[in-house]
């Protein structure tokens, strides 16, 4: 039996992380931020059908960047986890924290044990009864979890976009203001993002039991036009 070449664990991890980051950087980014009625998620996405943002449960939303088939698999797993938990216990027992931990476990496991890490970053957002209970969990390809306050930026150019979001950021703007601010941060100083290239959805406290609402077509034009 031949002895495999020794590669330092640091090197293995670094190679994997670089690989995942490169994959994520190829796609477009998204911004999630709090607004007066909850949380709004604004993604740069020219496709009307391949969604980056979607509903998980009554008060929980999901967003992913990177490789579509990989974050879509995570999205469906999240819906299944939430629906089974709500069915087995009560709708009130489904929460974003436990889901974020499950995602982190799975991504961490894949990062260290599988052939290739998942080339995704995901966001689990939950609105509470009160504005201060809103939560944004940002989870990286290696299972690192961040609990963000106010806003979260996912994607390749996250640092530059986050700097632009931070400039003049107010936690509780009105919906149109929050969408425009996120859009401008995504676009940067050198280009314009038309409404057709945006995918927008909000978790709003005034939306009834299922708080997730897509804002598209004429409704979006009216807000950002």
């Amino acid at each position: 039996m031949s002895t495999p070449f020794y590669v330092a664990p640091e090197q293995v991890m670094k190679d994997r992380a670089d690989y995942a980051r490169k994959g994520i950087a190829r796609g477009r980014s998204l911004v999630a931020c709090t607004y007066e009625d909850g949380i709004v998620i604004v993604a740069e996405n020219p496709s009307n059908t391949l969604h980056k943002v979607s509903e998980i449960y009554d008060r929980i939303g999901f967003a992913g960047v990177g490789k579509y088939n990989e974050f879509d698999q995570l999205r469906i797993a999240g819906i299944r986890h939430a629906d089974m938990k709500g069915f087995n216990y009560s709708r009130l027992d489904v929460d974003a924290l436990s889901l974020a931990n499950q995602y982190a476990q799975m991504l961490g496991q894949t990062f260290t044990h599988e052939m290739k890490p998942m080339e995704v970053e995901i966001l689990v957002a939950e609105i509470g009864d009160e504005a201060e209970d809103d939560q944004l969990f940002h989870i990286l390809y290696d299972g690192t979890v961040y609990d963000r306050t106010g806003y979260a930026v996912l994607g390749g150019d996250a640092e530059a976009i986050a700097a632009r979001v931070d400039e003049g950021f107010e936690a509780r703007k009105d919906l149109a203001g929050a969408i425009k601010h996120s859009r401008d941060a995504l676009a940067g100083p050198d280009r314009e993002l038309p409404a057709g290239d945006l995918e927008v959805a909000a978790l709003g406290r005034s939306n009834g039991r299922r708080t997730f609402l897509r804002i598209e077509g004429q409704a979006l034009d009216a807000l950002v036009g």
Partner: protein, 264 residues
């Protein structure tokens, strides 16, 4: 509870019932043992009208000759644009509704779009088929399903039998022990494209007459403020009537009967 990830061959797709079964969350009913004496819910009606459909049910659950529950709800929204009403063994019926609601929502979230109305009726039929062994042991459930078909832009309603047989009705549908009497009232009072007002009054009258003839169906209870649950399903979605409106309409019906000089 772990994150449910499946291999491509075992993936349950958008089917929540199959997912729950794989996860061991639903016990498969068996037909073994004696027939159980369980609380039963009874009469429900549904009818089409100008804007969509109306679905209504009384509030009584009985065990044999005793009233076991006075505030039972038998009419439920199954999603934004459909409703389900149940008659039969109360426990399994409510559980079936819960699973049905989740089936529709789960499909919508996984697939990103609503099931068609026919698809929804088909799902309910599947749940009934699964319940057949339990029905043999006395846990019979017979639902009514009504919804607004957004493709055809009409209200539609479906009756079922214990085995999951699905029958679309063009005018009205009934289920439960008082259904013979309720159906007669609907048959005589039904007009195509009736107004909301007339259709709601007809549904309340149908339940009243059923309760007058069938001891398992409850009359409007003015003492406790309990009235039938009545809901409309239109292009604007499922909407349940407020108690105040139901009290007024029930009172008007009683006044009319008293006015006729009928012994009450």
């Amino acid at each position: 509870m772990n994150l449910p990830i499946f291999s491509t061959t075992e993936d349950p797709g958008p089917d929540f019932a199959r997912l729950a079964e794989q996860a061991g969350l639903v016990a498969q009913p068996t037909g073994d043992g004696d027939v159980l004496d369980l609380p039963h819910g009874t009469t429900c009606v549904a009818l089409r009208y100008a804007d969509g459909v109306i679905i209504a049910g009384d509030r009584r659950a009985t065990s044999g000759n005793l009233i076991s529950y006075r505030t039972m709800q038998k009419v439920f929204p199954s999603d934004r644009h459909s409703a389900v009403a149940i008659a039969g063994a109360a426990g399994p019926a409510v559980e079936m509704v819960r699973l049905f609601q989740l089936q529709l929502e789960h499909y919508e979230k996984v697939e990103g779009k609503e099931l068609s109305l026919d698809g929804k009726a088909r799902q309910l039929s599947g749940l009934l088929r699964q319940n057949l062994p339990a029905a043999r042991a006395g846990m019979v459930v017979v639902p009514l399903f009504a919804g607004y078909d957004r493709r055809q832009e009409v209200g539609r309603l479906f009756q079922f039998d214990v085995s999951g047989g699905t029958y679309e009705e063009l005018e009205y549908g009934v289920t439960g022990s008082g259904s013979i009497h309720a159906a007669t009232v609907l048959k005589l009072g039904y007009r195509a494209e009736q107004s909301r007002d007339d259709a709601i009054n007809l549904a309340i009258q149908a339940l009243y007459v059923a309760a007058d003839e069938d001891s398992a169906t409850g009359l409007p209870d003015f003492l406790r403020g309990l009235f039938p649950v009545v809901a409309t399903v239109t292009t604007d979605g499922y909407e349940q009537l407020e108690d105040d409106e139901l009290r007024e309409r029930s009172q008007a019906l009683v006044d009319e009967l008293v006015g006729r000089g009928l012994p009450s």
